[in-house]
Subunit: 111 residues, 2 copies
Amino acid sequence: MTHAKTQLFEANQQEIAQIAKALAHPARVAIIQFLAKKQVCISGDISNELPLSRTTVSQHLQELKALGIIQGEVSGLNVCYCLDLKVVKHIKHIFNIFFDEALANPPAQCC
Amino acid sequence: MTHAKTQLFEANQQEIAQIAKALAHPARVAIIQFLAKKQVCISGDISNELPLSRTTVSQHLQELKALGIIQGEVSGLNVCYCLDLKVVKHIKHIFNIFFDEALANPPAQCC
DNA sequence: AATCTATGTCGTATATTTACGTCATAGATT
DNA sequence: AATCTATGACGTAAATATACGACATAGATT
């Protein structure tokens, strides 16, 4: 395998990259914003909202679920999704630490 | 083109996704952390630090430069890179707004 | 019981990303 | 002037992501 060297990096770096990857598509950002606005909503409502086919949206939902930032709960024929606020808070924290470390030691000037 | 539907989303969603994409590889996270620690350093030092070939690292550097989060300055034979703290602050701000919106309206429970 | 419906899975085509060797070049060293 | 060196650009192969139609299925409706 000439590829997939991501596991050669530190766990910390992999975690940030993995979270970022889950947020790296506007459809997934839109899903999170939509869930934040509606608080709770069924799968069909989400795909109706987005300019993508139902199956593509379903795929994006699975990715967000894999990260843990959303939860899905079956309710009869529908599946009901919502944000997991605990995970949102954790991600916010991880990113803030990352950015604060980047801001901690300002260079006098670049070179 | 059956692909590339990213432009069908809101500017706000595209910006977040674009930033996230730039952070979505551990090598690029590592580069940012390394620049934060060293404050200023030359291209060769960065590629020596990472478990990737020099050209691959160069490619990652170009991506971060395209986002604007790092700057490169030619200094003789070397190229000197550093973080653009203004951009780091902006990105931190964008993400915090995004997460805070997601946390603003907590559902009583999921479904 | 037969049918309908909302959803996820599978297969697949295309696009993009990742990774690296080779090459070109600007500038340093001899 | 000739050579050396650090870097980016280019070409390309392999991996991964994106997008969607066809299909399967659990549960509702008739």
